[in-house]
Protein backbone atom coordinates (compact mmCIF):
# COMPACT_ATOMS: atom_id res chain seq x y z
CA UNK A 1 0.00 0.00 0.00
CA UNK A 2 1.33 3.40 -0.91
CA UNK A 3 1.94 5.89 1.81
CA UNK A 4 3.15 9.41 1.14
CA UNK A 5 2.32 10.77 4.61
CA UNK A 6 0.05 13.29 2.93
CA UNK A 7 -3.73 13.08 2.92
CA UNK A 8 -6.00 14.91 0.52
CA UNK A 9 -9.73 15.31 -0.04
CA UNK A 10 -10.75 14.05 -3.47
CA UNK A 11 -14.50 13.77 -3.13
CA UNK A 12 -17.34 15.31 -1.16
CA UNK A 13 -21.05 14.80 -0.63
CA UNK A 14 -23.60 16.70 1.40
CA UNK A 15 -27.23 16.43 2.44
CA UNK A 16 -28.00 19.62 4.33
CA UNK A 17 -31.18 21.45 5.31
CA UNK A 18 -30.37 24.19 2.79
CA UNK A 19 -29.13 22.01 -0.03
CA UNK A 20 -28.89 18.39 -1.14
CA UNK A 21 -25.83 17.72 -3.29
CA UNK A 22 -22.74 19.89 -3.69
CA UNK A 23 -24.15 22.19 -6.40
CA UNK A 24 -27.35 23.14 -4.58
CA UNK A 25 -25.54 23.38 -1.24
CA UNK A 26 -22.82 25.66 -2.57
CA UNK A 27 -25.36 27.94 -4.25
CA UNK A 28 -27.15 28.17 -0.89
CA UNK A 29 -24.11 28.96 1.23
CA UNK A 30 -22.95 31.62 -1.22
CA UNK A 31 -26.34 33.33 -1.30
CA UNK A 32 -27.08 32.84 2.39
CA UNK A 33 -30.12 30.64 1.87
CA UNK A 34 -31.66 29.25 5.03
CA UNK A 35 -32.88 25.68 5.44
CA UNK A 36 -34.78 26.34 8.66
CA UNK A 37 -38.52 25.66 8.53
CA UNK A 38 -41.55 25.51 10.80
CA UNK A 39 -42.87 22.02 11.59
CA UNK A 40 -46.54 21.61 12.50
CA UNK A 41 -45.65 18.29 14.09
CA UNK A 42 -43.49 20.09 16.68
CA UNK A 43 -46.28 22.56 17.40
CA UNK A 44 -48.75 19.71 17.90
CA UNK A 45 -46.32 18.09 20.32
CA UNK A 46 -46.11 21.31 22.38
CA UNK A 47 -42.47 21.95 21.61
CA UNK A 48 -41.21 25.35 22.65
CA UNK A 49 -39.01 25.42 19.53
CA UNK A 50 -41.19 24.40 16.59
CA UNK A 51 -38.59 24.92 13.88
CA UNK A 52 -35.67 22.93 12.61
CA UNK A 53 -33.40 22.09 9.73
CA UNK A 54 -34.33 19.09 7.63
CA UNK A 55 -32.97 18.24 4.16
CA UNK A 56 -35.57 18.21 1.44
CA UNK A 57 -35.39 14.86 -0.35
CA UNK A 58 -37.93 14.03 -3.06
CA UNK A 59 -39.12 10.40 -3.10
CA UNK A 60 -37.76 9.93 -6.62
CA UNK A 61 -34.25 10.88 -5.52
CA UNK A 62 -34.21 8.10 -2.91
CA UNK A 63 -34.49 5.51 -5.67
CA UNK A 64 -31.16 6.65 -7.08
CA UNK A 65 -29.44 5.57 -3.88
CA UNK A 66 -31.47 2.68 -2.47
CA UNK A 67 -32.81 -0.51 -4.00
CA UNK A 68 -36.55 -1.22 -3.68
CA UNK A 69 -35.68 -3.84 -1.07
CA UNK A 70 -33.56 -1.39 0.95
CA UNK A 71 -36.41 1.12 0.84
CA UNK A 72 -38.91 -1.37 2.31
CA UNK A 73 -39.51 -0.33 5.90
CA UNK A 74 -36.60 2.13 5.81
CA UNK A 75 -37.36 4.62 8.57
CA UNK A 76 -33.94 5.87 9.67
CA UNK A 77 -33.38 9.40 8.43
CA UNK A 78 -29.72 9.31 9.46
CA UNK A 79 -29.09 6.31 7.23
CA UNK A 80 -30.87 8.00 4.33
CA UNK A 81 -28.78 11.17 4.70
CA UNK A 82 -25.52 9.34 5.37
CA UNK A 83 -25.84 6.89 2.50
CA UNK A 84 -26.69 9.70 0.06
CA UNK A 85 -23.78 11.90 1.17
CA UNK A 86 -21.37 8.96 1.34
CA UNK A 87 -22.23 7.62 -2.10
CA UNK A 88 -22.03 11.13 -3.54
CA UNK A 89 -18.54 11.66 -2.09
CA UNK A 90 -17.42 8.30 -3.45
CA UNK A 91 -18.68 9.09 -6.95
CA UNK A 92 -17.48 12.69 -6.77
CA UNK A 93 -13.97 11.29 -6.21
CA UNK A 94 -14.33 9.42 -9.49
CA UNK A 95 -14.55 6.01 -7.81
CA UNK A 96 -16.90 3.36 -9.10
CA UNK A 97 -19.34 1.06 -7.32
CA UNK A 98 -19.32 -2.56 -8.46
CA UNK A 99 -22.12 -4.51 -6.78
CA UNK A 100 -21.05 -7.69 -8.58
CA UNK A 101 -17.41 -7.78 -7.46
CA UNK A 102 -16.67 -10.88 -5.40
CA UNK A 103 -13.69 -9.52 -3.49
CA UNK A 104 -13.75 -6.78 -0.80
CA UNK A 105 -11.94 -3.56 -1.58
CA UNK A 106 -9.10 -4.03 0.94
CA UNK A 107 -7.48 -0.60 0.59
CA UNK A 108 -10.60 1.44 1.22
CA UNK A 109 -12.48 1.91 4.49
CA UNK A 110 -15.17 3.96 6.18
CA UNK A 111 -15.43 5.97 9.38
CA UNK A 112 -18.91 7.44 9.45
CA UNK A 113 -20.20 8.77 12.74
CA UNK A 114 -23.54 9.51 14.28
CA UNK A 115 -24.98 10.59 17.61
CA UNK A 116 -28.02 8.34 17.61
CA UNK A 117 -29.38 6.41 14.66
CA UNK A 118 -32.78 5.37 13.45
CA UNK A 119 -34.86 6.87 16.24
CA UNK A 120 -38.05 6.73 14.17
CA UNK A 121 -37.40 3.05 13.45
CA UNK A 122 -36.69 2.49 17.12
CA UNK A 123 -39.98 4.14 18.01
CA UNK A 124 -41.76 1.77 15.61
CA UNK A 125 -40.06 -1.14 17.36
CA UNK A 126 -40.93 0.13 20.83
CA UNK A 127 -44.62 0.34 19.94
CA UNK A 128 -44.63 -3.19 18.52
CA UNK A 129 -42.69 -4.62 21.46
CA UNK A 130 -44.95 -2.94 24.02
CA UNK A 131 -47.96 -4.35 22.19
CA UNK A 132 -46.49 -7.84 22.51
CA UNK A 133 -45.73 -8.01 18.79
CA UNK A 134 -41.96 -8.34 18.85
CA UNK A 135 -42.13 -10.95 16.10
CA UNK A 136 -43.53 -8.26 13.78
CA UNK A 137 -40.37 -6.09 13.89
CA UNK A 138 -38.98 -7.46 10.63
CA UNK A 139 -35.38 -8.10 9.78
CA UNK A 140 -33.96 -4.58 9.63
CA UNK A 141 -34.86 -3.18 13.03
CA UNK A 142 -31.39 -3.89 14.40
CA UNK A 143 -29.57 -2.75 11.26
CA UNK A 144 -31.41 0.57 11.16
CA UNK A 145 -30.97 1.36 14.84
CA UNK A 146 -27.47 0.13 15.65
CA UNK A 147 -25.11 3.12 15.80
CA UNK A 148 -22.85 1.52 13.19
CA UNK A 149 -25.83 1.03 10.87
CA UNK A 150 -24.64 3.93 8.75
CA UNK A 151 -21.13 2.58 8.19
CA UNK A 152 -22.63 -0.90 7.70
CA UNK A 153 -25.02 0.29 4.97
CA UNK A 154 -22.26 2.24 3.21
CA UNK A 155 -19.79 -0.62 3.65
CA UNK A 156 -22.10 -3.02 1.86
CA UNK A 157 -22.98 -0.64 -0.93
CA UNK A 158 -19.33 0.24 -1.62
CA UNK A 159 -17.78 -3.14 -0.80
CA UNK A 160 -15.08 -1.69 1.45
CA UNK A 161 -12.69 -4.20 3.02
CA UNK A 162 -10.59 -1.91 5.22
CA UNK A 163 -11.77 -0.63 8.61
CA UNK A 164 -15.52 0.07 8.54
CA UNK A 165 -16.74 1.74 11.72
CA UNK A 166 -18.81 4.46 13.33
CA UNK A 167 -17.54 7.03 15.81
CA UNK A 168 -19.65 9.03 18.21
CA UNK A 169 -18.67 12.14 20.14
CA UNK A 170 -21.78 14.34 20.15
CA UNK A 171 -21.38 17.47 18.04
CA UNK A 172 -17.68 16.85 17.34
CA UNK A 173 -18.49 13.53 15.65
CA UNK A 174 -18.07 14.68 12.05
CA UNK A 175 -14.80 16.51 12.58
CA UNK A 176 -13.48 13.64 14.67
CA UNK A 177 -14.33 11.17 11.87
CA UNK A 178 -12.24 13.22 9.44
CA UNK A 179 -9.25 13.08 11.78
CA UNK A 180 -9.68 9.36 12.41
CA UNK A 181 -9.70 8.65 8.68
CA UNK A 182 -6.74 10.97 8.20
CA UNK A 183 -4.73 9.05 10.81
CA UNK A 184 -5.61 5.72 9.22
CA UNK A 185 -4.26 6.83 5.84
CA UNK A 186 -1.28 8.63 7.33
CA UNK A 187 -0.21 5.54 9.20
CA UNK A 188 -0.27 3.60 5.93
CA UNK A 189 -3.14 1.31 6.91
CA UNK A 190 -5.52 2.49 4.20
CA UNK A 191 -5.33 4.23 0.82
CA UNK A 192 -8.76 5.83 0.99
CA UNK A 193 -11.19 6.46 3.82
CA UNK A 194 -14.74 7.64 3.34
CA UNK A 195 -15.35 9.80 6.40
CA UNK A 196 -18.29 11.82 7.57
CA UNK A 197 -21.28 11.81 9.85
CA UNK A 198 -25.05 11.93 9.90
CA UNK A 199 -27.82 12.96 12.22
CA UNK A 200 -31.46 11.90 12.34
CA UNK A 201 -34.18 14.57 12.31
CA UNK A 202 -37.37 14.99 14.22
CA UNK A 203 -38.99 15.37 17.61
CA UNK A 204 -37.39 12.32 19.22
CA UNK A 205 -33.90 13.66 18.51
CA UNK A 206 -34.67 17.31 19.16
CA UNK A 207 -37.00 16.92 22.16
CA UNK A 208 -34.25 16.48 24.71
CA UNK A 209 -32.65 19.74 23.65
CA UNK A 210 -36.00 21.52 23.78
CA UNK A 211 -36.42 20.23 27.34
CA UNK A 212 -33.02 21.71 28.24
CA UNK A 213 -34.39 25.14 27.16
CA UNK A 214 -31.42 25.74 24.89
CA UNK A 215 -33.42 26.10 21.66
CA UNK A 216 -35.05 29.37 20.55
CA UNK A 217 -38.77 29.50 21.30
CA UNK A 218 -39.47 32.95 19.94
CA UNK A 219 -38.88 32.49 16.21
CA UNK A 220 -41.62 30.01 15.32
CA UNK A 221 -43.27 32.60 13.08
CA UNK A 222 -40.05 33.55 11.29
CA UNK A 223 -37.91 30.40 11.20
CA UNK A 224 -35.30 31.68 8.76
CA UNK A 225 -34.23 34.35 11.23
CA UNK A 226 -33.97 32.00 14.20
CA UNK A 227 -30.41 30.73 13.93
CA UNK A 228 -28.22 33.73 14.79
CA UNK A 229 -24.59 32.79 15.51
CA UNK A 230 -22.56 35.69 16.97
CA UNK A 231 -25.63 37.91 17.03
CA UNK A 232 -26.75 40.01 19.99
CA UNK A 233 -30.21 38.52 19.57
CA UNK A 234 -29.00 34.90 19.45
CA UNK A 235 -31.56 32.90 21.39
CA UNK A 236 -30.20 29.38 21.30
CA UNK A 237 -29.36 26.87 18.60
CA UNK A 238 -31.87 25.66 16.04
CA UNK A 239 -31.79 21.86 15.73
CA UNK A 240 -30.86 20.48 12.35
CA UNK A 241 -30.10 17.18 10.65
CA UNK A 242 -28.41 15.77 7.56
CA UNK A 243 -25.04 14.37 6.60
CA UNK A 244 -21.70 15.35 5.15
CA UNK A 245 -19.03 13.10 3.65
CA UNK A 246 -15.44 13.45 2.48
CA UNK A 247 -13.39 10.97 0.54
CA UNK A 248 -9.88 11.13 2.01
CA UNK A 249 -7.05 9.72 -0.04
CA UNK A 250 -3.34 9.15 0.11
CA UNK A 251 -1.77 11.97 -1.92
CA UNK A 252 0.33 9.71 -4.16
CA UNK A 253 -2.61 7.46 -4.90
CA UNK A 254 -4.72 10.50 -5.80
CA UNK A 255 -2.03 11.90 -8.11
CA UNK A 256 -1.46 8.51 -9.70
CA UNK A 257 -5.08 8.12 -10.74
CA UNK A 258 -5.39 11.79 -11.72
CA UNK A 259 -8.01 12.59 -9.10
CA UNK A 260 -9.22 16.15 -8.57
CA UNK A 261 -7.90 17.40 -5.25
CA UNK A 262 -10.14 19.72 -3.23
CA UNK A 263 -7.73 20.31 -0.34
CA UNK A 264 -5.02 18.78 1.76
CA UNK A 265 -5.66 17.85 5.35
CA UNK A 266 -2.59 19.12 7.14
CA UNK A 267 -3.55 17.67 10.49
CA UNK A 268 -5.58 18.37 13.56
CA UNK A 269 -6.22 17.44 17.14
CA UNK A 270 -8.91 15.93 19.34
CA UNK A 271 -9.03 16.31 23.10
CA UNK A 272 -11.32 16.72 26.07
CA UNK A 273 -11.63 19.29 28.81
CA UNK A 274 -12.36 16.59 31.35
CA UNK A 275 -15.43 18.55 32.55
CA UNK A 276 -13.11 20.42 34.89
CA UNK A 277 -13.09 24.14 35.78
CA UNK A 278 -15.73 25.86 33.57
CA UNK A 279 -15.95 22.66 31.53
CA UNK A 280 -19.00 20.50 32.14
CA UNK A 281 -21.14 17.92 30.43
CA UNK A 282 -22.54 20.74 28.27
CA UNK A 283 -19.84 23.44 28.30
CA UNK A 284 -16.26 23.46 27.10
CA UNK A 285 -13.23 23.86 29.29
CA UNK A 286 -11.49 26.86 27.71
CA UNK A 287 -7.95 25.64 28.32
CA UNK A 288 -8.80 22.42 26.44
CA UNK A 289 -10.24 24.35 23.48
CA UNK A 290 -7.17 26.57 23.22
CA UNK A 291 -4.85 23.60 23.60
CA UNK A 292 -6.77 21.67 20.93
CA UNK A 293 -6.41 24.55 18.46
CA UNK A 294 -2.73 25.07 19.25
CA UNK A 295 -1.90 21.38 19.01
CA UNK A 296 -3.75 21.21 15.69
CA UNK A 297 -1.45 23.95 14.39
CA UNK A 298 1.61 22.15 15.73
CA UNK A 299 0.53 18.81 14.27
CA UNK A 300 -0.04 20.53 10.93
CA UNK A 301 3.37 22.15 10.89
CA UNK A 302 2.04 25.68 10.47
CA UNK A 303 2.03 28.80 12.60
CA UNK A 304 -0.93 30.64 14.05
CA UNK A 305 -0.32 33.58 11.70
CA UNK A 306 -0.72 31.27 8.69
CA UNK A 307 -4.44 30.87 9.34
CA UNK A 308 -6.55 32.87 6.88
CA UNK A 309 -10.01 31.77 7.92
CA UNK A 310 -11.83 30.10 10.76
CA UNK A 311 -14.98 28.05 10.46
CA UNK A 312 -16.23 28.06 14.00
CA UNK A 313 -18.52 25.83 16.01
CA UNK A 314 -20.57 28.96 16.89
CA UNK A 315 -24.02 27.57 17.62
CA UNK A 316 -25.89 30.83 18.39
CA UNK A 317 -25.85 30.65 22.16
CA UNK A 318 -24.25 32.84 24.79
CA UNK A 319 -21.16 30.65 24.38
CA UNK A 320 -20.28 32.23 21.03
CA UNK A 321 -18.38 35.11 22.64
CA UNK A 322 -16.39 32.64 24.74
CA UNK A 323 -15.50 30.70 21.60
CA UNK A 324 -14.24 33.88 19.93
CA UNK A 325 -12.10 34.64 22.96
CA UNK A 326 -10.62 31.13 22.81
CA UNK A 327 -9.81 31.47 19.09
CA UNK A 328 -8.20 34.83 19.74
CA UNK A 329 -5.95 33.45 22.45
CA UNK A 330 -5.13 30.23 20.61
CA UNK A 331 -4.23 32.09 17.40
CA UNK A 332 -2.44 34.94 19.26
CA UNK A 333 -4.47 37.61 17.47
CA UNK A 334 -5.59 41.03 18.57
CA UNK A 335 -8.74 43.01 17.86
CA UNK A 336 -7.64 44.14 14.43
CA UNK A 337 -5.81 41.18 12.93
CA UNK A 338 -8.25 38.40 13.61
CA UNK A 339 -8.80 36.12 10.56
CA UNK A 340 -12.15 35.85 8.80
CA UNK A 341 -14.61 33.77 10.79
CA UNK A 342 -17.98 32.31 9.90
CA UNK A 343 -20.58 29.84 11.05
CA UNK A 344 -22.71 27.71 8.76
CA UNK A 345 -25.30 27.24 11.47
CA UNK A 346 -27.06 30.51 10.61
CA UNK A 347 -28.34 28.72 7.49
CA UNK A 348 -28.59 25.07 8.55
CA UNK A 349 -29.11 25.26 12.27
CA UNK A 350 -26.99 22.97 14.40
CA UNK A 351 -26.92 19.62 12.60
CA UNK A 352 -25.67 17.94 15.79
CA UNK A 353 -23.58 14.86 14.99
CA UNK A 354 -23.68 15.84 11.30
CA UNK A 355 -22.48 19.40 11.96
CA UNK A 356 -18.73 18.77 11.75
CA UNK A 357 -18.89 17.00 8.40
CA UNK A 358 -21.45 19.29 6.74
CA UNK A 359 -19.49 22.33 7.91
CA UNK A 360 -16.21 20.83 6.71
CA UNK A 361 -17.73 20.36 3.26
CA UNK A 362 -18.74 24.04 3.34
CA UNK A 363 -15.27 25.02 4.55
CA UNK A 364 -13.53 23.14 1.74
CA UNK A 365 -15.90 24.55 -0.89
CA UNK A 366 -14.72 27.98 0.28
CA UNK A 367 -11.06 27.02 -0.16
CA UNK A 368 -11.77 25.63 -3.59
CA UNK A 369 -13.84 28.61 -4.70
CA UNK A 370 -11.77 31.35 -3.04
CA UNK A 371 -14.56 32.88 -1.00
CA UNK A 372 -15.79 33.28 2.54
CA UNK A 373 -19.52 32.69 2.84
CA UNK A 374 -21.42 35.36 4.69
CA UNK A 375 -22.73 35.02 8.23
CA UNK A 376 -26.52 35.18 8.02
CA UNK A 377 -28.69 36.67 10.78
CA UNK A 378 -25.65 38.43 12.17
CA UNK A 379 -26.33 42.07 11.28
CA UNK A 380 -26.35 42.91 14.99
CA UNK A 381 -23.08 41.36 16.12
CA UNK A 382 -22.96 40.75 19.85
CA UNK A 383 -21.18 43.69 21.58
CA UNK A 384 -19.07 41.27 23.61
CA UNK A 385 -17.74 39.85 20.35
CA UNK A 386 -17.11 43.32 18.87
CA UNK A 387 -15.01 44.11 21.94
CA UNK A 388 -12.79 41.20 21.02
CA UNK A 389 -12.55 41.35 17.23
CA UNK A 390 -13.32 43.80 14.44
CA UNK A 391 -16.60 43.50 12.55
CA UNK A 392 -14.67 43.19 9.29
CA UNK A 393 -13.61 39.69 10.41
CA UNK A 394 -17.27 38.65 10.37
CA UNK A 395 -18.48 39.12 6.77
CA UNK A 396 -22.23 39.59 6.47
CA UNK A 397 -22.27 38.72 2.79
CA UNK A 398 -20.12 36.30 0.85
CA UNK A 399 -16.82 37.85 -0.16
CA UNK A 400 -14.26 36.73 -2.73
CA UNK A 401 -11.05 35.94 -0.90
CA UNK A 402 -8.11 33.68 -1.54
CA UNK A 403 -7.65 31.37 1.42
CA UNK A 404 -4.65 29.12 1.87
CA UNK A 405 -5.19 27.71 5.35
CA UNK A 406 -8.58 27.25 6.98
CA UNK A 407 -9.08 25.94 10.48
CA UNK A 408 -12.31 24.25 11.51
CA UNK A 409 -13.42 23.33 15.02
CA UNK A 410 -16.28 21.38 16.55
CA UNK A 411 -17.11 21.08 20.23
CA UNK A 412 -19.47 18.60 21.79
CA UNK A 413 -21.37 17.56 24.89
CA UNK A 414 -19.11 15.64 27.21
CA UNK A 415 -16.56 18.48 26.87
CA UNK A 416 -14.92 17.05 23.74
CA UNK A 417 -13.15 19.02 21.01
CA UNK A 418 -11.92 18.40 17.48
CA UNK A 419 -9.96 20.78 15.26
CA UNK A 420 -8.85 20.16 11.68
CA UNK A 421 -6.76 22.27 9.29
CA UNK A 422 -7.38 22.29 5.54
CA UNK A 423 -4.94 23.69 2.99
CA UNK A 424 -5.61 24.80 -0.56
CA UNK A 425 -2.86 23.11 -2.61
CA UNK A 426 -4.27 23.85 -6.03
CA UNK A 427 -2.41 27.12 -6.37
CA UNK A 428 0.66 26.38 -8.47
CA UNK A 429 2.58 29.31 -6.99
CA UNK A 430 2.65 27.78 -3.53
Amino acid sequence: MENSQRVVVTGMGVVAPNGVGLTEFEASIKSGKSGIRFFKELEDLNFSCQIGGKPNIPEALLKEYFSPLQLRGLNSSGIIYGVMAGMDAWKDAGLTIDPDSKSPDWDNGIIFGTGILGVDKFREAIHLIDAGKTRRLGSTSVLQTMASGISAYLGGILGCGNQVTTNSSACTTGTEAILMGYERIKSGKATRMLVGSCSDHGPYVWGGFDAMRILPGTYNQNPEEASRPMSESAAGFVPGSGAGALLLEDYDAAIKRGATIYAEILGGEVNSGGQRAEGSMTAANNEAVIRCIQNALKNSGIKAEDIDAVNGHLTATTRDAVEIENWKKALSRNHDNFPYINSLKGMTGHCLSAAGSIESVAAILQLQGNYIFGNVNCNNIHPEILEKIDHSSIPQKTIQKKIKHLIKASFGFGDVNAVVIFKNINDQND
Binding site: P68, L69, R72, G73, R135, R136, G138, S139, T140
Partner: protein
Protein backbone atom coordinates in the same frame (compact mmCIF):
# COMPACT_ATOMS: atom_id res chain seq x y z
CA UNK B 1 -65.40 -17.42 1.79
CA UNK B 2 -64.39 -18.74 -1.60
CA UNK B 3 -61.74 -21.42 -1.34
CA UNK B 4 -58.39 -20.36 -2.78
CA UNK B 5 -56.80 -22.74 -5.20
CA UNK B 6 -53.12 -23.58 -4.74
CA UNK B 7 -52.50 -21.76 -7.99
CA UNK B 8 -54.06 -18.59 -6.51
CA UNK B 9 -51.82 -18.86 -3.49
CA UNK B 10 -48.72 -19.44 -5.62
CA UNK B 11 -49.36 -16.38 -7.76
CA UNK B 12 -49.89 -14.23 -4.67
CA UNK B 13 -46.70 -15.65 -3.13
CA UNK B 14 -44.79 -14.84 -6.28
CA UNK B 15 -45.85 -11.23 -5.95
CA UNK B 16 -44.83 -11.17 -2.26
CA UNK B 17 -41.31 -12.56 -2.70
CA UNK B 18 -40.48 -10.46 -5.75
CA UNK B 19 -38.68 -7.60 -3.91
CA UNK B 20 -36.45 -10.05 -1.98
CA UNK B 21 -35.36 -12.16 -4.93
CA UNK B 22 -31.69 -11.85 -5.90
CA UNK B 23 -31.75 -14.48 -8.63
CA UNK B 24 -34.36 -13.25 -11.10
CA UNK B 25 -34.08 -16.29 -13.36
CA UNK B 26 -35.48 -18.39 -10.53
CA UNK B 27 -38.78 -16.50 -10.88
CA UNK B 28 -39.35 -17.71 -14.43
CA UNK B 29 -40.42 -21.12 -13.27
CA UNK B 30 -42.02 -20.33 -9.93
CA UNK B 31 -43.72 -23.48 -8.63
CA UNK B 32 -44.14 -25.60 -5.51
CA UNK B 33 -40.63 -26.99 -5.88
CA UNK B 34 -38.99 -23.53 -5.96
CA UNK B 35 -36.56 -23.20 -3.02
CA UNK B 36 -36.56 -19.70 -1.47
CA UNK B 37 -32.87 -19.70 -0.60
CA UNK B 38 -31.33 -21.84 -3.34
CA UNK B 39 -33.43 -21.01 -6.40
CA UNK B 40 -34.34 -17.41 -5.59
CA UNK B 41 -31.27 -16.57 -3.46
CA UNK B 42 -33.38 -14.68 -0.95
CA UNK B 43 -31.16 -13.51 1.92
CA UNK B 44 -31.99 -15.79 4.85
CA UNK B 45 -32.51 -12.75 7.10
CA UNK B 46 -35.22 -11.57 4.70
CA UNK B 47 -37.24 -14.79 5.14
CA UNK B 48 -38.55 -13.15 8.29
CA UNK B 49 -39.91 -10.30 6.18
CA UNK B 50 -41.41 -12.71 3.64
CA UNK B 51 -43.29 -14.40 6.50
CA UNK B 52 -44.61 -11.06 7.78
CA UNK B 53 -45.78 -10.17 4.27
CA UNK B 54 -47.47 -13.58 3.97
CA UNK B 55 -49.24 -12.96 7.29
CA UNK B 56 -50.52 -9.60 6.07
CA UNK B 57 -51.56 -10.91 2.66
CA UNK B 58 -53.46 -13.94 3.92
CA UNK B 59 -54.59 -12.69 7.31
CA UNK B 60 -52.91 -15.50 9.22
CA UNK B 61 -50.19 -15.90 11.82
CA UNK B 62 -47.20 -18.10 11.00
CA UNK B 63 -45.66 -19.47 14.19
CA UNK B 64 -41.92 -20.02 14.49
CA UNK B 65 -42.14 -23.81 14.02
CA UNK B 66 -44.07 -23.43 10.78
CA UNK B 67 -41.61 -20.83 9.60
CA UNK B 68 -38.66 -23.17 10.19
CA UNK B 69 -40.18 -25.63 7.74
CA UNK B 70 -40.90 -23.03 5.07
CA UNK B 71 -38.08 -23.83 2.65
CA UNK B 72 -39.97 -24.17 -0.62
CA UNK B 73 -43.00 -22.49 -2.15
CA UNK B 74 -44.94 -25.72 -1.61
CA UNK B 75 -44.24 -25.55 2.14
CA UNK B 76 -45.66 -22.04 2.22
CA UNK B 77 -48.76 -23.15 0.32
CA UNK B 78 -49.33 -25.95 2.86
CA UNK B 79 -48.86 -23.61 5.82
CA UNK B 80 -51.30 -21.10 4.35
CA UNK B 81 -53.89 -23.81 3.60
CA UNK B 82 -53.56 -25.25 7.11
CA UNK B 83 -53.89 -21.90 8.85
CA UNK B 84 -56.81 -20.88 6.67
CA UNK B 85 -58.64 -24.15 7.35
CA UNK B 86 -58.50 -23.71 11.12
CA UNK B 87 -59.59 -20.07 11.07
Amino acid sequence: MIKMTDQDIISRLKHIVKPYVQREIGMQDFNKQTDFLKDLEINSANLVDVVLDVEDEFGIEVDNDSMQGMLRVGDAVNIINNKKSIQ
